[in-house]
Subunit: 452 residues, 2 copies
């Protein structure tokens, strides 16, 4: 076979260096999740199509990867079906599909296992998802999601936990961020107050573009959507609200005085921010009324995280939803969750050079191999290092020194240990610091204290 | 929707308790892999069908999960193809499939990235694979493989590393094991010596059944396969070889005196065992001439690990292969690897009750919630515990104490911390050890020293 093999469009191999850095991100996030009492969950890559279809809109249905039934997949399919709509036909040929996100599988899991789960169910899930999107820069057909949710509690302490998790994750990763918050009830209150509760989605979609297209263009779009001039005028002071979160909320309380839902949204936001302030959480938080997110889904607080020193879309986001499991016949189960965007976080950390040095490789020392008795001693020294928890390798062949050193370099091993005939005679290994080039003689017994 | 949702046959959800225990196994294994200088690799779940087809035999091809092409998947498919063989048709409808193992993706990766890789390439890979097998007890359609391989070195030190990894992994997991070793060259030498080099596969398939069906039945099967009586007679002393590995090898050296390949196998085995002995590796190793494994694949040492205190198939296995990447046009690249069976290891550990206590849950303390100022203090104390690295939760609502304690019990939280009005007044929390039922008053500042 002459042709070099390849992988499907929009998918990626993660080689050792990328993996070590990705694991650094995932391990940091997981560590914080655990600190707050969240527990891991994994669900199968394949779900029944009946679980997935209709949950992501028509567009989402088209983006599902479907798995061809095994065996005689055409059995029972009529000629008419065969020559009909391919989408309809695909659901005859396929019973299963690859998961599209981690939210629908979570809802499915909660409903299926409701008898065994201790609510509030605090779970995190870090697994790949698949979407048959057109691949482009930064958009993949297979990518990891990294979700953390509390299911079965309406308490705002859950939101507070998530805000603290955001603060701690990005503090540990070294990324300076701003957490933007809003509340779907405030958005409803605004629509209601200006007399267009029915057009809440149109209004928020337009407001969402404020930062991108400016106030004039937003007003133009509102007019196009049939919002009357009186309403647009009433909206202006809200859109131009400035200042500290407390001041904004106080002003909103006046503006939304006649909307009980809107006022509830203000109170929720005040409560969350008050808890976070009491706890002294170090995080820049900004109430951003233009923050909308997938509106058909969220019902309370919504969150989005932006990196302050790197231009990229949001690197984390989520919110409160009051009826996640209703689609599977278990109504009135409220939940709140956020999702960390691992790929973008990786790009930010690469762009700002934030990965610690030891994410270049996991091997701390390479013992060169000169064969014979030297080799046996190197193997024994390597064993000692490993007993002390130090990851090391013995080069497997007594190849030319240049080749072995090249290997150490390419693998970014920080220490090289040489046991040649001189060292064998003196009982002292030559230890080379690969960063500085410095060499020193170290007694065999002392090695475990010298290799960091 | 009235019907409870479900997942596809042969797939599994892993809830928190199972996940924590599975992670304990994977983390232990990964830790040992890293100690020996192996680095992580991940490849996409979907591979091109051209990569997968023809690599696992006809049976394997049928067990591949194929992904239906997006959009108009019937475009360009003729009526004749549509009504022809479903297997042939499926490769018209599908370009991609789910990976069947981690070995073919490794070979594909090595060939595709040969310019970037530092050889010897020491990689580990822990990811799910998918097979459209008929689901049955202990056999799943989605399961994790856990592979470690060295590619690009013929040195037997690689085999030695793997033997040491086996010893250390199972020692850390607390499972007493026997490592069975054999060598494909010895098997060839035996076939050659008894005058049937051409029937090596028939002979080893028969020998492989020795333990299960006994010597007489094995001889019967050999006769059926056309092995002559003289050859069967010559085989008898080999089949009944007993005693220590050294004695067996010495005897084999005599028996295989006229087979250079067989002698090479004996020497390889002696070398590996001699290194392992020099290093003082604590592991029961048994040369087992009936050990065969997938013969069309391996070319040198072969390994299999059996648990000594629990009846189950092999829990780890592998060997040396001299031409993994030849299928993708990169010949003469030797490698050696082993694969740990996570599901079986999980069953052994559950059966022998080997999981440490702290794999029941990751949360160390639950702070009960009595609302008001008590809640605020609990939140602050939780924050202190977390700063000290102790995973804890505050129950999110001031629910009835019974309900909160039930939650602590079901979540297997070892410590419950109570800050009610009395505790608030005294500045001392009530700390309950959930295992013993003991309660004591602990000053707020002292909590981080009391919760383990």
């Amino acid at each position: 076979m002459a042709q070099k093999p390849s992988i499907p469009k929009g998918t990626r191999d993660f080689g050792p260096e990328e993996m070590i850095r990705r694991n650094y991100i995932f391990d940091t996030i997981k560590g914080v999740f655990r600190l707050y009492g969240f527990q891991p969950l994994e669900t199968p890559a394949m779900e029944n199509l009946s679980t997935l279809l209709g949950k992501y809109g028509d567009e989402g249905d088209k983006l599902l990867f479907k798995i061809l039934n095994s065996g005689d997949f055409l059995s029972g399919v009529s000629d008419e079906q065969l020559h009909g709509n391919p989408n309809a036909l695909s659901t005859r040929l396929c019973e299963k599909g690859l998961r599209y996100d981690l939210t629908v599988p979570l809802a499915r899991y909660v409903v299926q296992h409701q008898g065994e789960i201790s609510f509030p169910f605090k779970r995190y899930q870090i697994q790949p998802v698949w979407r048959a999107d057109r691949p482009q820069k930064g958009r993949y057909r297979e990518f990891y999601q990294c979700d953390v949710d509390v299911i079965g509690s309406r308490s705002l302490l859950c939101e507070v936990d998530l805000v603290e998790i955001v603060a701690k994750v990005f503090q540990r990763l070294g990324i300076r961020v701003t957490l933007k918050v809003n509340n779907r009830k405030i958005l409803y209150g605004i629509a209601e107050t200006i007399g267009h509760a029915d057009k809440m989605i149109d209004i928020t979609v337009a407001i969402d573009k404020l930062e991108k297209i400016g106030l004039e263009a937003v007003n133009g779009e509102l007019r196009e959507k049939g919002i009357d001039e009186r309403a647009i005028e009433a909206l202006q002071p809200i859109l131009s609200l400035e200042g500290a979160n407390g001041a904004k909320l106080a002003r909103l309380r006046e503006i939304l005085a006649d909307s009980p839902v809107g006022l509830a949204g203000v109170t929720e936001t005040e409560t969350i921010l008050s808890y976070v302030e009491t706890l002294g959480t170090e995080l820049e938080i900004e109430l951003d009324l233009s923050l909308a997110r997938g509106l058909n889904y969220y019902t309370g607080a919504i969150f989005e995280v932006k990196a302050r020193d790197f231009a990229i879309g949001s690197i984390c986001g989520g919110g409160r939803y009051d009826d996640l499991t209703g689609i599977f016949g278990m109504p009135n189960t409220s939940g709140v969750g956020i999702s960390f965007g691992a790929d973008r976080i990786y790009d930010v950390m690469t762009g700002l050079d934030l990965f610690p040095d030891d994410t270049k490789g996991t091997t701390r020392a390479l013992m060169l191999n000169f064969g014979g008795e030297e080799e046996r001693v190197s193997l024994r020294l390597a064993k000692n290092l490993r007993e002390a928890g130090i990851a090391c390798e013995v080069y497997p062949e007594s190849a030319k020194m240049k080749k072995q050193m090249e290997y150490a370099n390419r693998r970014a091993v920080p220490w090289v240990v040489i046991v040649g005939s001189d060292e064998l005679a003196s009982g002292r290994a030559t230890v080379k610091n690969m960063a500085t080039g410095e060499q020193q003689a170290v007694a065999f017994d002392e090695l475990i204290n010298r290799i960091e």
